[in-house]
């Protein structure tokens, strides 16, 4: 099973590559909209790349709309990965 550190690394790598983000902007408290400059259009791509990276279905779960910061996303994926084991 993936550790939290592995999850964080996988999320960060995937998002940095997809959205051309700088490593120093990837702070846990960073807000997707205010700090990372993403918009609702990017949210769709974010879901697509994370589903590919973790081989889990994210879209089935409507909680996904409550994710505002990178930390929210790490927590969310950590729980999903646990459930899938």
């Amino acid at each position: 099973m993936m550790t939290r550190e592995e999850i964080i690394k996988t999320v960060n790598d995937a998002l940095m590559k997809e959205f051309e983000l700088k490593p120093e902007s990837m702070k846990p408290e960073a807000n997707f909209f205010a700090d990372l400059g993403l918009d609702s259009l990017d949210a769709v791509d974010m879901v697509v790349v994370l589903e590919q990276a973790f081989k889990v279905k994210l879209r089935k779960n409507y909680e996904v709309g409550k994710i505002m910061t990178l930390n929210d996303l790490y927590n969310y994926i950590e729980n999903l990965v646990k459930e899938n084991v």
């Binding site: 259009l41 791509d45 697509v48």
Partner: protein, 472 residues
């Protein structure tokens, strides 16, 4: 002369384009509708050959009754559509070639369930399970809930995201390959193979025919005629033979350039054309590079190879489609599936249709190769029908051939339903990174008449919501 200015410019006059234009006109906007073809809605309009009208875009649909979603959307647009119910006991015929039986698709759950059990008694439990699953999906989708009679704005923001495929559901419910083939055959009518389509999308496209199936008196051409009537009365400026070649952003305005070098300005621009065609004319700031890559990688639905003609000797067939299913049709994902469509016109038009790969590379080929290919596929279809149903074959007079390349010439894309919606891909969103530049059409919601209309209604609600937010 000063450059013409519009509040809204809609590119493409298919169902979603006409719907979007009407909805903006209802908001009191000055709207222009641009179509590259010589007349509006080329796909739905069909064409005349040898004294018969051939349908190229529309045959029948579920939920067009006046208190069903299609009927309610027509009403909202001011359209008085001449709809009529298909035959309740058999709107489509499927020959089950393995067991040598003819299944006539009825509508109404009870009839459908009884008929399935009668044909497949050993699958009784699976049939109930399958229909329960399909109905529970339909209940969840606000537009398709059979008991709903009105719609709230926020319901247009409902997105179903379950990625279970139709094949997975059928394999889970049934052992018999013949029933799996039968229940997945309609996937040919929205262009996504059973192993790739999300079960929920299958329900959106085919499940809507569980309760009612409607035709339009006079077919697709009558539907377009009614749209035209309302468009003419709404003050929308309509331009045909007007192909947009470039969209640019100039301050708060969008500037459209046409193939004839003329230009117009608008505040809002709505593209209803194929998303890959939109990418060719859209300003670079429309999407991020990765986003463009994702749209480019979306697969195209199969194309239709059509042998069209008419029924001879006053013979009449009282069904829409006659399909032929072999024991392994489902296993083969209905690849190269074929069926015969009968119109309700007089004289009765016939289209023998085969689903074929619509990849541009297969159709954009030298003329002599293309002619050869046409010859081979038509012979193949003719032989199939002749072998399966010689008595039917003898009644058909073939008049011509339409291929994905023919369709490309009229509607600018090869696949029958544009981009393929798969369980793995995300829909194209109505918004772009450019404020006031939007996308509607089959790729944003779902394929078909209802999917195209809902895509424009969704945009209408997005605009309402952003106006509300501004007022707060």
């Amino acid at each position: 002369m000063a450059i013409q200015n519009y509040d809204v410019a809609v590119i493409g006059s298919g169902i979603s384009g006409m719907t979007a234009a009407l909805l903006f006109a209802k908001k009191g906007k000055k709207v222009a509708l641009f179509e590259q073809a010589p007349h509006l809605a080329p796909l739905f309009s069909g064409f005349d050959r040898g004294g018969v009208h051939i349908e190229s875009g529309f045959h029948y649909s579920g939920v067009l009754g006046k208190d069903e979603i299609g009927g309610l959307l027509f009403k909202e647009l001011g359209l008085n559509m001449p709809v009529e119910l298909c035959s309740k006991d058999g709107y489509d015929d499927a020959y089950l070639l393995k067991s040598g039986r003819l299944f006539k698709f009825p509508f109404g759950r009870q009839l459908f369930e009884q008929k399935l059990i009668e044909f497949f008694p050993n699958e009784k439990d699976g049939i109930k399970k399958y229909l329960d699953l399909a109905y529970s999906q339909l209940e969840k989708i606000p537009f398709l809930n059979f008991h709903k009679r009105e719609y709230k704005s926020e319901e247009f923001f409902y997105f179903a995201d379950d990625k279970t495929t139709l094949s997975e559901v059928l394999n889970d419910c049934f052992k018999d390959e013949e029933i799996k083939s039968l229940l997945s055959f309609s996937s040919v009518l929205y262009g996504v193979p059973p192993s790739k389509v999300a079960f929920v999308l299958h329900c959106c496209c085919s499940g809507i025919m569980f309760e009612t199936v409607w035709k339009i008196k006079g077919g697709g051409a009558a539907l377009v005629k009614e749209f035209k009537r309302v468009i003419e009365n709404s003050g929308i400026a309509v331009f045909c033979n007007k192909k947009v070649v470039k969209i640019e952003v100039e301050k708060d305005k969008k500037k459209l350039t046409f193939a004839d070098s003329s230009q117009i300005l608008c505040d809002i621009c709505v593209s209803s054309i194929h998303p890959k065609e939109f990418l060719k004319i859209a300003p670079p700031e429309t999407y991020r590079a990765k986003n463009v890559e994702r749209i480019q990688s979306l697969p195209e639905t199969d194309g239709f190879f059509v042998l069209y003609g008419k029924v001879k000797d006053g013979f009449r067939v009282d069904t829409n489609n006659v399909g032929f299913l072999t024991g392994d049709s489902f296993q083969k994902d209905h690849k190269n599936a074929y069926y015969i469509n009968f119109s309700n016109s007089n004289p009765q038009a016939v289209c023998a249709v085969m689903a074929v790969d619509s990849d541009e590379k297969l159709w954009d080929i030298p003329q002599n190769e293309y002619e050869q290919k046409k010859k081979e596929i038509s012979q193949n279809i003719k032989d199939e029908i002749k072998n399966r149903k010689p008595e039917l074959f003898d009644k058909i007079e073939f008049l011509g051939i339409a291929t994905p390349k023919t369709q490309k010439r009229f509607v600018n894309y090869y696949g029958s339903y544009g981009i393929m919606h798969t369980a793995e891909s995300a829909n194209i969103l109505p918004i772009t990174k450019v404020g006031g530049l939007f996308v509607v059409g089959q790729a944003t919601i779902a394929p078909g008449l209802i999917g195209a209309m809902i895509s424009s209604f969704l945009l209408d609600k997005i605009i309402d919501r952003s106006l509300e937010n501004k007022n707060v």
